[in-house]
C-alpha cells in the first residue's frame, strides 16, 4: 500500500507537469531556438580563437555602429582564454578608437587615442543620444548579452539540462535571433520601424536585419578562400561566440579549475569513505553494511 500511494502521488505530479505546461505558452507562438554545437560546451570546452577573432570582426564592422561592449577593455582581447590577439595588434586596434578624457590641467576635456587599458567606447555619448538616433530606444550594450537572454525550457527539460550542463541557451537564442528575420506571416501587420523576427518575444523587433551574405570579408587562407563561408548563418555564429566570451571571459579558467577541484574531491571522497569504514569497523560496522539484517 505504501509503495502504491507514493507511486500514485508521483504519477499525479508527472500528469500535472505534462498536462499543464501547454496552456500558458501556446505552441507555435515563439519557436524554441535550435540547440547548436559550441566549442565551449561541456566540462572541457574552450573558445575557438579563430572564431572569436572573426566574431570580433563582425562586431566591429556591423554591430559596433549601434551597440557598445563597454564592459570589455581592449587589453582583454589579448588575455588568455579569449580571442588572444597579440599585444601589438591590441595596441594598434586601441589607437584607432578615441577616448574622451580629462579634465586636463587647464580644465578642458579632450580626446585622445585609446590605450589597451581603456574600455571600448560606445558610438554614442549617452543613452539619450543613442535613443534619439535609433527610433526612441537605445541599442543595449552587448557585453553581457549572452548571459542576459534565455528561453523557457520547461519541465522536464530543465532537469536534463542540469545533468548535461546545458548553459548555452543565451548563445543559442542570439544566433537564432540574428538569423530569425522573416516576412511577417499573413495577418500580422508590422508597424513602421519594426521588423518581423521569428525568435524575438512578440516578434516585432526594432533592430533592422543586421547581417547579409558577404557583408564581412574574412581573412583568406593559403588557397585564397576564407576558412569559413561568408554567410549570415556563419556571421551569426561567430559574433555569438564572441559575445559569449565578452559575457564570460574567464570561462576556460573556470572549467579548467573545476575539473581539478572535482578530481581532487573524488579522490578525497574515496579516502574519506575508507577511513569511515575503518573507524566504524571498531564498533561492529555501520548498520547499512550488515547483510541480512533489517535496516531502519
Amino acid at each position: 500500500m505504501g509503495k502504491t500511494m507514493t507511486r500514485a502521488a508521483l504519477l499525479a505530479l508527472l500528469a500535472a507537469g505534462v498536462g499543464m505546461s501547454e496552456p500558458a505558452f501556446p505552441a507555435g507562438e515563439t519557436p524554441v531556438p535550435p540547440q547548436l554545437k559550441w566549442s565551449w560546451q561541456g566540462p572541457f570546452g574552450t573558445y575557438d580563437r579563430a572564431q572569436l577573432q572573426r566574431g570580433f570582426q563582425v562586431y566591429r564592422e556591423v554591430c559596433q555602429a549601434c551597440h557598445g561592449i563597454q564592459r570589455v577593455a581592449f587589453r582583454n582581447l589579448a588575455e588568455p582564454g579569449g580571442p588572444e590577439f597579440t599585444r601589438g595588434q591590441v595596441q594598434a586596434l586601441a589607437a584607432e578608437y578615441k577616448i574622451k578624457d580629462g579634465p586636463n590641467d587647464s580644465g578642458e576635456m579632450f580626446e585622445r587615442p585609446a590605450r589597451p587599458a581603456d574600455r571600448f567606447p560606445w558610438n554614442f555619448p549617452n543613452e539619450q543620444a543613442a535613443a534619439a538616433a535609433n527610433g526612441g530606444k537605445a541599442p543595449p550594450d552587448l557585453s553581457l548579452m549572452a548571459k542576459a537572454r534565455t528561453f523557457e525550457r520547461g519541465f522536464p527539460w530543465f532537469v536534463w539540462d542540469a545533468l548535461r550542463q546545458y548553459s548555452e541557451n543565451g548563445a543559442d537564442y542570439l544566433t537564432a535571433l540574428l538569423v530569425g528575420y522573416k516576412d511577417a506571416p499573413q495577418g500580422v501587420t508590422v508597424p513602421a520601424g519594426g521588423f518581423y523576427n521569428e525568435y524575438y518575444p512578440g516578434h516585432i523587433i526594432a533592430m533592422p536585419p543586421p547581417l547579409s551574405d558577404g557583408q564581412v570579408t574574412y581573412a583568406k587562407g593559403a588557397d585564397g578562400q576564407p576558412a569559413v563561408p561568408e554567410t549570415v548563418a556563419q556571421y551569426a555564429r561567430d559574433v555569438t561566440a564572441f559575445l559569449a566570451w565578452t559575457a564570460e571571459p574567464h570561462l576556460e579558467a573556470r572549467k579548467r579549475l573545476g575539473f581539478v577541484v572535482i578530481l581532487f574531491l573524488i579522490g578525497l571522497t574515496a579516502l574519506m569513505y575508507f577511513t569511515k569504514k575503518k573507524v566504524w569497523a571498531d564498533v561492529g560496522g555501520e548498520i547499512e553494511d550488515r547483510p541480512g539484517v533489517k535496516t531502519v
Binding site: 500500500m1 505504501g2 500511494m5 507514493t6 502521488a9 508521483l10 499525479a12 505530479l13 500535472a16 507537469g17 499543464m20 496552456p23 500558458a24 566540462p43 564592459r71 582583454n76 543595449p140 557585453s143 553581457l144 548571459k147 542576459a148 537572454r149 519541465f155 542540469a162 550542463q165 546545458y166 548553459s167 541557451n169 543565451g170 518575444p201 559575457a247 574567464h250 579558467a253 573556470r254 572549467k255 579549475l257 573545476g258 575539473f259 577541484v261 572535482i262 574531491l265 573524488i266 578525497l268 571522497t269 574519506m272 569513505y273 577511513t275 569511515k276 573507524v279 566504524w280 571498531d282 564498533v283 561492529g284 548498520i287 547499512e288 550488515r290 539484517v293 533489517k294 535496516t295 531502519v296
Partner: protein, 426 residues
C-alpha cells in the same frame, strides 16, 4: 546546560592547559560537545546535513566578507562593481559564483535537514525548542538570501525587491510605515540598496548566534535517530568523534562535489538571465520570479486572491511549521513506525514540489486553481491531517532499544568497547 554531558571527560594535559581550563573551561566544553558527545549509533546520512549546513554558513560568510571588499552598495555602481568582481578581481568570478550558488546549496541542505526532521519526528518532546530555533534560522536564511539577491542590482534584484516590499505594505496599520522604512523613500532606490546591503551583512551573524543556541539545545537532549527512541545504554551510542566527524566529513565531501558541479560548470543555471540586465525602474521584466528556494511560498502568496490574505498565507506557511510539535498528536516519533503518517509525509513533499513548480509559472488560468488546491492541502496537512493521524493511526511496535532496531533482537554480541565508554546513560 545538562550537567551530565558537561561533567566532561576532558583532562587537561599540559600545565598551561590546566591553568587555562581552571579559568575558562572552554576546551572541556568543546571536548564534551564535539568529541565525547554521545550520538545514537544508528544515525543515517540524513543526519549529516547539520554539519554540511554549518560549513555552508561559514563558506557564505567568508566569501561574502571578501566580496564586500570589492562591492559598491550604490545604485549606479552596484551592477558595475559586480561585473568588476567577475572580470578584474583575481578569482572574483570564483568568489561570486561560490557565494551565489552557495546560497542555493545552503537551501538544498536545509530542505533535506527539515524534511529529515519532519520524517523522523525530531521536533517532538524534548526537542521543541531546538526545533523552533531551527525554524527561526530558516526564516533568517530566507531574509538573508532575499536581501543578497537584490545586491547585484540587476532587473530581477530590483523587481524582486519591489514585489516583496510591496507585499509588506499589505500589513494593516503599520504596513506603509514598514515599507517606507525599508525603501528609505517612496520607491525602491539607492537608500533601499544601502540598507539591504547593511542588513545582508548583519543577518548571517545573527544566524551564527541562533545556530549556537540550536547546537546548545541539541546537546541537552541529544540527537533523535531513525528509530525515534532514546538512548538507553552505552551500547546504543557512539562518541561524536571519530564516528560522526568521519561520517559528516564523508558526506560533506560528496556534497561539495555536487556544489562544484554548479559553481564550475553551470554557475548561472540557478539564477535568472534578467539579472544580467542592469536595474531599470522603467522596464518591468515579463515574469518576476524569485529564486527556486522561494517558489513554493511565492505560489502560496499568489494563490490567495486577496493581497493581505496572500501575505498572511505565505507567512502562515512558515509559522505553521513552528507549531508542528503541538499539531502532531502521535506519541511515536519516527515515521518508520507510523504507516499512515509516512504516506502523508510523502504526499506533502510532492505537494511542496508542485507548489514550487507553480511558483515559477505565470499566475493565470489552471495554474492558479492548482496553486489554490496545493496551498489548501499544504495547510490541511499540518492543521487537519497531522492531528487526526495521531488519533487513528496504529503505530508498529517499537524496537526495545536502538541496538535492537539496528541488528534485531539479541544483538548483545556487538563489541561496545571504547565506543560506549564516554556514555553512561541516555
Amino acid at each position: 546546560m545538562n550537567d551530565h554531558h558537561h561533567a566532561t571527560t576532558y583532562v587537561p594535559k599540559s600545565a598551561f592547559a590546566k591553568w587555562f581550563e581552571s579559568r575558562l573551561p572552554i576546551a572541556g566544553l568543546i571536548h564534551s560537545s564535539f568529541v565525547a558527545f554521545p550520538v545514537p549509533r544508528n544515525l543515517n546520512y540524513f543526519w549529516t546535513f547539520g554539519g554540511v549546513l554549518f560549513v555552508m554558513l561559514v563558506l557564505q560568510i567568508v566569501t561574502g566578507v571578501i566580496l564586500a571588499m570589492h562591492y559598491t552598495p550604490e545604485a549606479t555602481k552596484a551592477f558595475d562593481s559586480v561585473e568588476h568582481i567577475m572580470r578584474n578581481v583575481n578569482y572574483g568570478w570564483l568568489l561570486r559564483y561560490l557565494h551565489a550558488n552557495g546560497a542555493s546549496m545552503f537551501f538544498v541542505a536545509v530542505y533535506i535537514h527539515i524534511f529529515r526532521n519532519l520524517y523522523y519526528g525530531s521536533y517532538k518532546a524534548p526537542r521543541e525548542v531546538l526545533y523552533i530555533l531551527g525554524v527561526i534560522i530558516y526564516l533568517l536564511m530566507m531574509a538573508t538570501a532575499f536581501l543578497g539577491y537584490t545586491l547585484p542590482w540587476g532587473q530581477m534584484s530590483f523587481w524582486g525587491a519591489t514585489v516583496i516590499t510591496n507585499i509588506l505594505a499589505a500589513i494593516p496599520v503599520v504596513g506603509d510605515a514598514i515599507q517606507s522604512l525599508l525603501w528609505g523613500g517612496y520607491s525602491v532606490g539607492n537608500p533601499t540598496l544601502n540598507r539591504f546591503f547593511s542588513l545582508h551583512y548583519l543577518l548571517p551573524f545573527m544566524i551564527v548566534g541562533v545556530v549556537i543556541l540550536h547546537v546548545w539545545a541539541l546537546h541537552v537532549p541529544g540527537n533523535n535517530n531513525p528509530a525515534g527512541i532514546d538512548i538507553q545504554s552505552g551500547r546504543d551510542a557512539v562518541p561524536f568523534h571519530p564516528y560522526m566527524t568521519v561520517k559528516d566529513g564523508f558526506s560533506l565531501v560528496v556534497f561539495l562535489i555536487f556544489f562544484a558541479w554548479w559553481v564550475f560548470y553551470m554557475p548561472n543555471y540557478l539564477g535568472h538571465a534578467d539579472n544580467y540586465i542592469p536595474a531599470n525602474p522603467a522596464v518591468t521584466p515579463a515574469h518576476i520570479v524569485p529564486e527556486w528556494y522561494f517558489l513554493p511560498f511565492y505560489a502560496i502568496l499568489r494563490a490567495i486572491p486577496d493581497k493581505l490574505g496572500g501575505v498572511i498565507a505565505m507567512f502562515g506557511s512558515i509559522v505553521v511549521l513552528a507549531l508542528v510539535p503541538w499539531l502532531d498528536t502521535s506519541k511515536v516519533r519516527s515515521a518508520v513506525y507510523r504507516p499512515i503518517y509516512k504516506q502523508f509525509f510523502w504526499i506533502w513533499v510532492v505537494v511542496c514540489v508542485i507548489l514550487g513548480w507553480l511558483g515559477a509559472k505565470p499566475a493565470e488560468g489552471g495554474y492558479v486553481i492548482a496553486a489554490r488546491i496545493a496551498t489548501a492541502y499544504y495547510f490541511a496537512h499540518f492543521l487537519v491531517i497531522m492531528p487526526l493521524i495521531g488519533f487513528f493511526e496504529k503505530p508498529k511496535p517499537l524496537p526495545r532499544s536502538i541496538v535492537d532496531s539496528v541488528l534485531g533482537p539479541g544483538a548483545s554480541r556487538i563489541p561496545v568497547g571504547a565506543a560506549a565508554a564516554p556514555q553512561a546513560k541516555g
